[in-house]
């Protein structure tokens, strides 16, 4: 019982991270129609920026988180403007390959500047809370609560503000949105920024628990794609629910079945799912 509860809490924590990364990815997909392969690399950059703010400049944890959020928001807007925008009217394959180029650039810059070694920064609190015979570190609670609050805020932003409604309108029907006087280019930039900032926050939240290194985004981006395919590409609720489900599933597989082939099992299951439903669980048919 204790182990199961511990596993579930770890699963929800991992799920919180996945939900945030997948939410960013799905927002970007919904509005730009681009599967953003760079997302995992930007997640990594977000973690490093917080690391330097906290460890090199001695900033408090929360300041590091906000600095990383703001910088990655700006990087997202810049990337959309400079790198992705010229390719909207080009064949689909071009933006994929540009994303691959960006991964090479960003990841190897990180590797050359900061080296391959693992890094970590301290959690804001090292308290351990004991509930029903289970030890929970404060950082796990911080991850779970912050993620939930942030996801709720993004939801409110999209549903309750003018800007959010404009973003939603653009994702539903870009031509219609254009006719209503919405500046689509702006919406694309802002969405790319928000999506990227979400990935950065997710990385900073797990920074004290997992390790920071240049290739840390590889598995996360793979998982995020698994999640948004299962939840339906572009779907808000699909990405969030899918994130929690995959996070819990991954921890359960690791604890109870095998800790060597977890990733192979999950990615293999996705390929099988696509065999049965080529557009994912909730996707529309071709």
């Amino acid at each position: 019982m204790g182990i199961l509860l511990q596993t579930l809490i770890n699963g929800i924590m991992l799920g919180s991270v996945y939900a945030m990364v997948a939410l960013g990815l799905t927002l970007i997909y919904g509005i730009l129609n681009v599967p953003n392969f760079v997302h995992g690399t930007l997640y990594m950059i977000g973690a490093y920026i917080a690391y330097f703010a906290i460890v090199s400049f001695g900033a408090p944890y929360w300041v590091g988180l906000i600095v990383s959020l703001i910088i990655l928001f700006a990087i997202g807007i810049l990337l959309e403007r400079i790198v992705f925008r010229p390719f909207y009217d080009k064949p689909l394959i071009n933006s994929f390959i540009v994303a691959v180029g960006l991964i090479l650039v960003l990841e190897n810059t990180a590797l050359s500047l900061w080296g391959p070694e693992f890094r970590q920064f301290a959690a804001p609190s090292d308290k351990v809370i004991k509930v029903m015979g289970v030890m929970i570190t404060a950082q796990r609670i911080i991850v779970i609560v912050t993620a939930a609050v942030l996801i709720w805020l993004v939801h409110l932003f999209i549903k309750k503000t003018r800007l959010g409604s404009a973003i939603e309108a653009t994702s539903q029907n870009p031509d219609g949105a254009l006719l209503m006087g919405i500046n689509i280019s702006h919406m694309r930039g802002i969405t790319f920024g928000i999506g990227t900032a979400l990935a950065a926050v997710a990385a900073v939240l797990v920074g004290p628990i997992l390790l920071i290194y240049p290739a840390m985004g590889h598995t996360v981006i793979g998982m995020a794609f698994v999640i948004i395919i299962i939840g339906g590409m572009g779907s808000f609720i699909g990405a969030v629910l899918g994130g929690y489900i995959i996070g819990i599933l991954e921890t359960l597989v690791t604890s109870y079945i095998t800790n060597f082939f977890t990733e192979a099992i999950i990615f293999g299951l996705l390929v099988l799912l696509l065999a049965v439903r080529p557009t994912g669980l909730f996707g529309k048919p071709h």
């Binding site: 180029g101 650039v105 810059t109 590797l111 395919i229 696509l274 065999a275 080529p278 071709h286």
Partner: protein, 323 residues
């Protein structure tokens, strides 16, 4: 160009390729040429599925890794000769390609690169973690070079020297080019190009698009496995990273910078980039950053690579003369 001149050009080219080792005495440059040959085979394999059928397979590097590990393990653990292990390794890769192509090729548009990326990650983790068989993260060491071939009365050909490996790889490159050229100039090649253009339309015209895509995918994984198998025996050691999607990226670079959808393009890319890589050696890790920038700029300004750029330039000159 008439047939005679074409044959002459081809003859001269083959002669140049044959006598190159007589002039290059520096083993290191010969080594780069061998690596170029291996990259040519793998770039042509990716180009077949990407350039002709229009499907971006991000697991191509993983199939390279499967071919490499299969050939290496068949030699090391089963004691097979290279000449038996290589074809078996390629067949195994193509079988896995066929089995995994069936589900992934059902997806279209955005879903296919994502599905193949996930497939690649899944297989990579199997290779990286299956310690008992693949050696896991430590990798695989001490793989033998191809066994010597004994020709009665004439002597034996051994493959210890880099020059002999150069000839072997050149021969395999030649076979690959011939097979892929035959394939894309055949009727099924035309069908693939139709699928690349518009899959729904191709299907409406009565093309069994799924069948053609699966056949193309299987053949392309066969050649990726071939490149991997030769790589394993030539290098003598393997790391799980050889099966990572970074290898797919490297293939993609060769194809895109040379010119996607042509035979000569990936060949140019696979010769040009390793040479460039030597020139950029002083950059260390920044080399790949430069590569990434080159890739982005190529797609932006020369979407059909070096070959596409030359063609456009020639067409412009032609137009000017016409006026």
């Amino acid at each position: 160009m008439d047939k005679k001149r074409k044959a002459l050009c081809l003859g001269v080219l083959i002669l140049i390729i044959l006598i190159i080792p007589l002039f290059i005495k520096d083993e290191y440059y010969l080594h780069i040429l061998v690596m170029s040959g291996i990259w040519i085979i793998s770039a042509l394999s990716l180009n077949l599925i990407l350039g002709y059928a229009g499907q971006l397979n991000l697991a191509q590097g993983t199939f390279f890794g499967i071919g490499a590990y299969a050939t290496g393990l068949l030699m090391q653990k089963m004691g097979l000769s290279f000449w038996a292990a290589l074809p078996l390794g390629c067949l195994l890769t193509a079988t896995i390609g066929f089995v995994t192509g069936l589900p992934t090729l059902r997806t279209r548009g955005h879903y296919f690169p994502i599905a193949t990326m996930c497939l690649g990650i899944a297989i990579y983790y199997v290779i990286a973690r299956w310690d008992d068989v693949t050696g896991g993260a430590r990798g695989l060491f001490g793989l033998p070079r191809p066994d010597p071939i004994v020709i009665p009365f004439l002597g034996t050909i051994s493959f210890e020297s880099t020059a002999s490996c150069y000839y072997l790889v050149s021969f395999l490159v030649f076979i690959t080019i011939v097979v892929i050229h035959r394939l894309i100039t055949s009727l099924s090649g035309k069908r693939l190009i139709a699928i690349r253009g518009n899959e729904d339309l191709a299907q409406a015209l009565g093309i069994n698009t799924m069948r053609d895509k699966v056949i193309c995918f299987t053949i392309s994984t066969f050649f990726a496995g071939l490149a991997g198998g030769v790589f394993a025996s030539y290098m003598g050691s393997l790391m799980a990273e050889n099966a990572h999607f970074v290898t797919s990226f490297e293939m993609l670079l060769n194809v895109m910078i040379g010119g996607v959808g042509t035979i000569i393009g990936p060949i140019i890319g696979a010769i040009f980039l390793p040479l460039l890589s030597e020139e950029l050696h002083f950059l260390g890790g920044w080399r790949l950053v430069v590569y990434g920038l080159i890739l982005i700029l190529t797609i932006r300004f020369l979407p059909f690579g070096i070959v596409g750029g030359i063609r456009t330039a020639l067409a412009k000159r032609h137009d000017k003369r016409g006026v």
